[in-house]
Symmetry: C2
Subunit: 499 residues, 2 copies
Amino acid sequence: MAQSNETPRVSEPMQQEKLGPLRVRMSVLQQRARTLGIPAVVVVEGMSAAGKGDAISGLIESLDPRGFNVYAMRAPNEQEKRFPWLHRYHQRTPAKGRIAIFDGSWYDEMFAAQFNDDMGDAERQIKRNQTCDMEGKLATSGAVVIKLFLLISQKEQKKRLKKLEGDKHTRWRVSKIDWLQNKHYERAHDIYTEMMEHTSHPFAPWHVILSEDRKSTIRSIYHIMIDAFEQAITQKEALAQSGAAPEYGFVPYVKPIQTAPIQLLGDVDLNKTLEDDTQYKPQLKQAQQRLKDLHNRIYQAKIPVVLGFEGWDAAGKGGSILRLTQALDPRGFQVNPTSAPDATELAHHYLWRFWNHVPKNGHIAIFDRTWYGRVMVERVEKLTAEGDWRRAYDEINQFEHNLADWGAIVIKFWLQIDQEEQLRRFHDRQNTPEKQYKITDEDWRNREKWPLYETAVNEMLQKTSTSFAPWVIVESNNKHYGRLKVLNTVIDAIEARLK
Amino acid sequence: MAQSNETPRVSEPMQQEKLGPLRVRMSVLQQRARTLGIPAVVVVEGMSAAGKGDAISGLIESLDPRGFNVYAMRAPNEQEKRFPWLHRYHQRTPAKGRIAIFDGSWYDEMFAAQFNDDMGDAERQIKRNQTCDMEGKLATSGAVVIKLFLLISQKEQKKRLKKLEGDKHTRWRVSKIDWLQNKHYERAHDIYTEMMEHTSHPFAPWHVILSEDRKSTIRSIYHIMIDAFEQAITQKEALAQSGAAPEYGFVPYVKPIQTAPIQLLGDVDLNKTLEDDTQYKPQLKQAQQRLKDLHNRIYQAKIPVVLGFEGWDAAGKGGSILRLTQALDPRGFQVNPTSAPDATELAHHYLWRFWNHVPKNGHIAIFDRTWYGRVMVERVEKLTAEGDWRRAYDEINQFEHNLADWGAIVIKFWLQIDQEEQLRRFHDRQNTPEKQYKITDEDWRNREKWPLYETAVNEMLQKTSTSFAPWVIVESNNKHYGRLKVLNTVIDAIEARLK
């Protein structure tokens, strides 16, 4: 993602400009951003004792407290360590019109790992790509992303640490790490500088602030915030008037990912059945017993598993999921049904609600319908602008790449049936009392749009089947065949991983 | 809450009845409950090695995995310990139509505390009342609450623990505590029995299952579940037809709480001003400095603070909150704006979304509009049945009592202005560009309903002002006076607590 790098912008201390007018401008901009539904992410990093807390206090003085959150991020606790490292940050990304201020962030985490020699080059590169992916997605969806770094000299740092330790009310704020950083100031400085050079992008630039004087630091922050908000607001208003699809002034950040070849739906052989259908029950039992044992082993090996289910209405998603979960320890899996997003979910990036349901390591998350709604129903029903769903293929590949890099087994099932079979099942549902809840008018409406969906599904399969998160087409005209294929696919994937 | 106690119901092992038909009935009932929007809470407790896991696996075999969650609750971690002990359970209460199965629960926690002599009689009584409150609220809102206890003999327990330890795949499941419980079986048994006798209510009964044979245990569970679901479904359908407000077959669980006297709005003196308005700025600065210091001290003393703001539109909630937060360390407070509930929030108990925003200990949570919407806007706009909002006064008192028992400082501010002042401020907002976003048609509509709101507010103040969570009426025609009163009220409350 180097193409979009740029050098961090350094703010020199301002002359004696009054803060008052800046505060007023900022507070008006916050309201306009809220009205326009523009979210903002503000990352505040810096050398130890550079005054992050003061800077944030100074900044929020002018903000409506009902419109922002400050997140003091510290080292992840045991619980947080069981999720992808960016999980807790994704969860805290702001809703439309809100400002999320991070006092310490993913950069803090990366710095600490590097400073303590806990992170190799490969891991560092992966983590930087992931943060670029996160920030890029936010920016592309219209968010303001501001990254501030407060810089002080080694001498000034020493002075401040001593002062903090001298006061009994602030002593608890000084840790060994802080002193260690002061001792190895040069090294810390180099690590930060190199990190910022590689993570400063036009859509999420770093701003280095020489921060030895509190007032001028806050002044600089206001100028940076005001510029960024004005730019975003102008852009959003221009868009609103033109009605055009979002256009952003930078090369799309997403790195295209190599996909793997996969069948077109038209070529799927739906006549597949079991050689001997009387063998279904025993084979099912056997597969479930096998999966039960494997579930125990991935639990102990702390391997996470993410299974996505998509397919035509009545293709048998529920039945397949049930055959899976019957074999699983209920304490080690979760099924996440996906329906139309509610107001809160709509106010966030479309992948936010799925980040919230990523499994703990050692657990299995099963999604009944998934993030692929973006390129299926949202495309077909025109719920999302074309530019947005077109971009989603790469965004989704990156999302799944995040999970795979973390160590997750990721499989996406497409349950395929033909129109005749669907019609049979719709009628069966209507004629069976305890199945009637399963069939709605919407199912009939979707059915009429079969060709539109088939086009969307084919494009989706081609553009998002990857080595690390493959699509598996399940021939499901024959339910028994389909269920066993799902079970055995999961079993094979886990066994391959455990080898 | 003894009035609603009853003795736990003991299920004898069933004869050799087939499981198949029970499974089918249960799965049909789950679908009907989903369609009717009936949530269910299933608590599974038992002696160590009584087979909770097996029982849950057996139960969910028949359930649609998209309709339930299993929560394996263990001892709270450091993060969870910073919240009220029931917080993590409230967060997991089910949405309409869903089933939450607790493998270990609040009872586990109470048992452990008692078994380890970590809990005095007073605390035990408080915690039991709180669980009764939680279960009662769920039941009253239409949820099925089922509590299962799996009982095995000391001899059987010993046999099973040995067997588990013998197998290298299951060895990790056996802990010292399990053996300790077996050694002191009598004592454990007595504690559980006494606990169940005091927490078995008609709306949330305990079912003790003699659990030495797996099949008959699962059979018993199905019978208990089926009976409970059928009863709830019948009741709900009857209600739907009659259109009557909910009537439940038990004495309302809520214990009325003694309230404190408070003014009627009509008696509030709105002419209050500062003796010398030029003193506003210095007094504000002084109060904010004082609060800043106190914030540090409650942070270190780990005292949580909950501040609720209600009042007429344009009464100055935002301004008062801003003056507060300007004095606070941004890492130690959170402002929670409350607007109309979204779909997810509507699918839960109305207090659920507020439980989700309870502060950590040592932190301050500020609510801009609160849970009192239940007895104001929802009452006036007829969004909630009368029986439901009438019951809410006691429910809310109990909610706040939970927070107070936990150690929180709880204050609710009512910002009072008169109609003339509101009109002035509405016009001012319309005529000031950067304030226009603050005034909407809804504000004008609400204004027309002033008398209806005044009646509702007066009843609310009378019925929910308590010694542990008082209402403070803030005379706000004069903004300076109002803001200082809010600040000083918070300061006084914190100082009183720190003494």
